[in-house]
């Protein structure tokens, strides 16, 4: 009997002293396992005299019960202590940096183009695509710039080898004629894309750049409508109202033609972007020249329209404070991954 008491006391002491679930499991095995001490005890029972056996069995079971209970209590205690230890956050360094998660990126020209496409589409404009290698007819002839017109000089054209009819488009304006050929009036269309000018490259000029043409054809279109549409457009781009002014600008495919200046959105009293004038030259625009409407198969007495051109490369540079246009097409990953 006293053997049992001692065994229990020993077990309880060991259970109490165990400091981990693993240790506890070891103790459990030692006493309660298949070949544990209790099993030993139980194995002795059949060797006892017949009449002692029931009592011995009961005693052994009671002993086992007591050990099981002690183990369970301890196990609960240890589990709780374990959670408490986890929750204490010991050794946690809140300044440890997060691991780098790689991501892809959309080119800033794509981002600005999309933004404008979405803006214009919400105002009922379709988006038109046009070829970069263009026919002289669309780039000049149909736009009221016949051969030998002095305006061709300012276009600094890249010509393609061949019979002289192919060139790299110098602006997105060829899309005006292409739009008139493919849409029934009235319509509104924008045409973003790459353009080319034969110029020496520097921080503010690249021979390849992006523009977006806009064209509205409808009945009874006036300069006042053009002003209204441009103000709406600038509100969409800069997210606020900007004062604008139109002044004469010469583009053979519009008459009258304008340069649109907006109050510099970056300063109040003059800054480097506006060259201290508080105005920035934002976009050329004008009423579509009757000859251009005719080239597009429309009767200028019945239909009118206005057109405008947005410098996408320039908008991207303004948007992100990019000081050198050559970054845009250099495809340096260190540049691309910033967007």
């Amino acid at each position: 009997m006293s053997d049992h008491t001692a065994l229990l006391a020993q077990a309880q002491e060991q259970v109490q002293a165990s400091d981990s679930l693993d240790a506890l499991k070891g103790i459990e095995r030692e006493y309660l396992g298949k070949e544990g001490r209790l099993a030993e005890l139980l194995a002795q029972i059949p060797t006892l005299p017949q009449d002692e056996r029931p009592t011995a069995g009961r005693e052994a079971n009671r002993l086992k019960q007591a050990i099981v209970e002690a183990v369970e209590v301890k196990r609960a205690e240890l589990a709780e202590a374990g959670i408490a230890a986890e929750r204490s956050g010991d050794g946690f360094d809140p300044t440890l940096p997060p691991p780098r998660t790689e991501r892809g990126s959309l080119h800033p020209i794509t981002q600005v183009t999309r933004e404008l496409e979405d803006l214009f589409q919400s105002m009922g404009y379709s988006v038109l695509d046009g070829p970069e290698v263009e026919l002289d007819y669309y780039n000049f002839e149909a736009l009221n710039v016949p051969a030998d017109h002095p305006a061709r000089d300012s276009h600094d054209t890249f010509f393609c080898e061949g019979d002289g009819h192919l060139l790299m488009r110098t602006h997105t304006s060829p899309s005006q004629i292409r739009a008139m050929e493919s849409f029934e009036p009235p319509f509104r269309v924008i045409a973003p894309g790459k353009c080319f000018r034969h110029e020496t490259t520097d921080a503010s000029h690249d021979h390849t750049f992006h523009q977006m043409e806009g064209l509205v054809v409808d009945r009874e279109i006036s300069v006042a409508h053009l002003i209204g549409a441009m103000k709406t457009l600038l509100r969409g781009i800069f997210h606020r109202d900007l004062e604008i002014r139109l002044r004469p600008g010469f583009f053979p495919f519009v008459e009258p033609g304008f340069e649109l200046d907006a109050r510099c959105p970056f300063c109040e009293n003059g800054c480097s972007v506006c060259k201290k004038t508080t105005w920035i030259e934002l976009l050329p625009c004008g009423l579509v020249h009757p000859n251009v409407l005719r080239a597009g198969g429309l009767d200028p007495e019945e239909w009118g329209g206005f057109a405008f051109g947005l410098g996408l490369s320039r908008l991207v540079m303004l948007r992100h404070d990019i000081d050198d246009v050559r970054h845009l097409l250099a495809n340096d990953v260190r540049f691309l991954e910033q967007f």
Binding site: E161, V223, G228
Partner: protein, 813 residues
């Protein structure tokens, strides 16, 4: 073009209008003013001094010690400045330009008190060159005696001026604005002030026989010749020199200066010949003969073509019409007898010649704008009158020769005031419309509801053609910034569904998103050297005739060269590079009926990293991974039933044996090509050695994708019963394809097959020579029940038997 504010005042009263105001108003009504600078600001910093005494420097023969009065009235002896001067021409009594201590001269040259050979000097007596207003450095600049001492030189000489720079591009369409008189006309119209009359009366002309001229080309519509005798090539008077200096023209001598003045005032170029070198038969205007040569005034020998117009005397060319005179007939210092030429040359002819000779002059710039043929006699009379005023001894021995087949371009146009208001969207009354046009020199009469507008000759050559041109005239003087905005009254329809643009966006989003690629935008021109590195130099390319960079003559066929070029630049900085571009390529070998090359709309991808480790698993290479990216993309784009196969035609950049292509229809367009970079190209691209790389490339055709059949987007029921995953490994002959194994799996699994995934490729001695092992996860599933071990066993038994049919052996254990 430069315009002098003071010069403008010869033609219109500018009182009360500051140069700044004028520039602003010109910008808003006429043409863009690019700059406004004070003329010779240094002349407002130097003052008129009076040299009271001049003595020789005690220690230097070439130096003078002057006592100079720079205060004027009430100067005392002690106020005089001592200035040491090195000029040979300095004399007592002269009025001179003095830079006092503290003045800064051009070149950031600050005048300081100094000691010159022991004598203290308090300033500098300046030469014209030191003041940046001339070349004369032989001595100091002596001012007229009338100059008031102590005043700034600019004020004393009445040459305070502002120089306005107008953007030439904004004058392309205005031949009439290439002179001060023309700009003054705009100013007069803007402010409603009268234009001062210009005296164009001829001086007395003699009665000798007119100078003989023969015009032999339609490119010269008018030729006016005026012989001049007794002209002297002396310096021009100060007023003329100052005006020329203000617009950056170097004064030469009276004759050259007047010629320039007339051009810069009226906009009509003109030329003077030495009449002594002209043949007795006079002037012959004709087209040049091929390979004919002429030495122009700038000393260059010019080789001409049949399209260049020449001024000749006898057979000998003496000028390139409308562009530049010839060296041989140049007016020299001793020339007394001249011939003045004022002519009308065809704009296109002048423009072409000027372009092919790369010779642009003030004259050609004006002629190519289409000047009015009514101008020559005005300009000639102006020149003759001014010359006879400057040199009263000049004689004009004969009347002008004035020939040519010209017609006054003036014409009339109908203008509907209603249309003016409708087009501008502004309620401008008839009276204002009429007033504006009249101020601009148009004459108006009424004709029913519309106006009859006479277009003056100077505006009628090109600029004003149609009613809309007149509407612009009204609009710009009325001022566009005074027109109020108005909203368009139009129904807004949703734009048509734009498949292509949606496809571009879907591709960009998928690649920049989940696939983690950086989007690039590349140049359309490809460097010749890069094409060579990619073995693409022999493919047909659209070629540029006049590249900016000599080696960039090729228009790209595909976006791949840009991406591989970008690898070259980025490889040193990044281990892992994933780039894509959606862009255009052009094929000159296939053109449409209008001669346009075929345009390809493409997406290109490149994925590069260091080579995989030896123990990397079979699909840990960029080719497999890029294949996966493109495969997933095609699935995401819902392309229906596409399959991969060995590429039928391998692009030059692709590994010749490993290129794969995706097609929907075996006979149809290729949707995409994926391949490792041809290993032969690595070294050329700098991707060997330390930068040795595992590079995979893909090219996707957007045109083929748009044409391909697409899956309808139907949802599939989520399986009711769980499936079982069975792994099989098969030992096979090396040349047995994975596809044939998968076909067997399909047959063995029958309808229960829910998924197959290759997860290992193994080669080892235990398999035997020429054999490999492929291992698959096979997912079996039924719609009716949960599958059991028995089903798995059945499948395996069938599979084991069937795989033997292709020489395979199911590996166990």
């Amino acid at each position: 073009m430069l315009i002098s504010y003071r010069w403008l005042q010869r033609h219109v009263d500018l009182s009360g209008i500051s140069p700044e105001q004028l520039c602003n108003d010109l910008t808003l009504s006429t043409a863009e003013v690019e700059g406004l600078e004070p003329f010779a600001p240094q002349l407002t910093d130097v003052v008129v001094g009076h040299v009271v005494t001049r003595e020789k420097h005690p220690d230097a023969d070439s130096l003078s010690v002057c006592r100079v009065d720079v205060q004027g009235e009430q100067t005392t002896e002690s106020d005089l400045l001592t200035i040491v001067c090195g000029a040979p021409n300095v004399e007592a009594g002269q009025k001179v330009a003095v830079a006092t201590v503290g003045t800064v001269l051009p070149g950031d040259f600050k005048i300081k008190k100094s000691k010159i050979r022991g004598v203290a000097s308090f300033g500098m007596i300046c030469s014209a060159r030191e003041l940046g207003i001339g070349e004369d450095h032989d001595g100091i600049w002596v001012l007229p005696d009338s100059a008031p001492v102590g005043q700034t030189v600019a004020k004393a000489l009445e040459i305070d001026d502002s120089v306005i720079e107008i953007d030439n591009k904004s004058l392309t369409h205005r031949p009439d604005l290439w002179g001060h008189r023309g700009i003054a006309g705009e100013v007069a119209a803007i402010y409603g002030r009268p234009l001062k009359p210009l005296s164009l009366d001829w001086p007395e002309l003699g009665q000798e026989a007119p100078f003989p001229v023969h015009i032999d080309s339609t490119a010269c519509s008018r030729y006016l010749a005026l012989p001049i005798d007794g002209a002297v090539a002396e310096p021009s008077p100060a007023w003329l020199q100052w005006l020329l200096l203000a617009v950056d023209q170097r004064p030469i001598d009276c004759i050259v200066d007047l010629s320039n003045f007339v051009m810069l005032d009226l906009g009509q170029p003109n030329h003077t010949f030495d009449r002594n070198v002209l043949a007795p038969e006079g002037i012959h205007v004709r087209m040049a003969r091929s390979e004919e040569t002429l030495q122009t005034l700038d000393g260059e020998e010019r080789t001409l073509t049949e399209n260049d117009l020449l001024i000749c005397t006898g057979e000998k060319p003496v000028a390139l019409a409308g562009i530049m005179g010839g060296e041989s007939s140049k007016v020299g210092d001793d020339t007394r007898s001249l011939l003045l030429e004022v002519a009308s040359f065809d704009a296109v002819t002048v423009r072409r010649t000027s372009a092919h000779l790369s010779l642009r002059t003030d004259s050609s710039t004006r002629f190519e704008k289409s000047l009015s043929p009514t101008l020559p006699d005005q300009a000639a009379a102006y020149f003759a009158r001014l010359l006879s005023e400057l040199q009263p001894n000049v004689r004009f021995p004969s009347p002008t020769t004035d020939l040519g087949d010209w017609q006054d371009p003036a014409f009339t146009l109908a203008l509907r005031p209603e249309r003016v208001r409708a087009d501008l969207g502004a309620k401008i009354p008839d009276s204002e419309i009429i007033s504006i046009l009249e101020r601009l020199g148009f004459e108006i009469s009424h004709e029913g509801d519309s106006l009859k507008v006479s277009v003056p000759s100077a505006r009628a050559t090109k600029d004003i053609r149609i009613e809309r041109d007149l509407i612009e005239e009204v609009g710009r003087i009325h001022r566009y910034d005074s027109i109020a905005e108005e909203n368009m009254l139009a129904s807004v329809k949703p734009p048509p569904h734009d498949e292509r643009r949606l496809l571009v966006r879907a591709i960009q989003d998928a690649l920049a998103g989940g696939a983690r690629f950086n989007e690039t935008v590349g140049y359309t021109f490809i460097d010749d050297a890069l094409l060579e590195k990619l073995a693409m130099q022999d493919l047909p390319h659209v070629q540029i005739q006049n590249p900016v960079i000599q080696a960039e003559t090729h228009v790209r066929r595909t976006v791949i060269p840009n991406l591989l070029g970008a690898l070259e630049t980025n490889r040193r900085l990044h281990e892992e590079i994933r780039l894509f571009e959606v862009g255009k390529g052009y094929l000159p070998e296939k053109t449409n009926e209008r001669g346009e090359p075929t345009e390809l709309h493409l997406a290109g991808l490149v994925w590069a990293s260091p080579p995989p480790l030896a123990k990397a698993s079979f699909n840990e290479n960029r080719f497999s991974q890029l294949h996966g990216v493109v495969h997933t993309l095609l699935n995401q784009l819902k392309v229906k039933d596409f399959v991969w196969r060995s590429a039928a035609s391998v692009p030059s950049w692709a590994h010749p044996a490993k290129a794969l292509e995706a097609v929907c229809d075996p006979e149809g367009e290729v949707l995409a090509v994926v391949a490792p970079l041809d290993p032969g190209l690595n070294a050329g691209l700098g991707l060997d050695g330390d930068l040795s790389s595992d590079v995979a490339i893909a090219e996707i055709s957007l045109d083929a994708l748009l044409a391909a059949p697409h899956r309808a987007s139907h949802y599939q029921a989520v399986p009711k019963y769980p499936g079982i995953k069975v792994d099989v490994a098969i030992s096979l002959a090396e040349d047995t394809s994975a596809q044939s194994v998968e076909e067997v799996i399909q047959q063995a699994a029958k309808a229960q097959l829910a998924g197959v995934e290759l997860f290992d490729v193994y080669r080892g001695e235990n398999l035997g020579e020429g054999r490999k092992s492929l291992a698959y996860h096979v997912l079996l599933q039924s719609e009716n029940k949960t599958l059991s071990d028995k089903d798995e066993q059945k499948f395996l038994r069938r599979f084991e038997k069937m795989i033997e049919g292709i020489g395979g052996e199911l590996r166990k254990g």
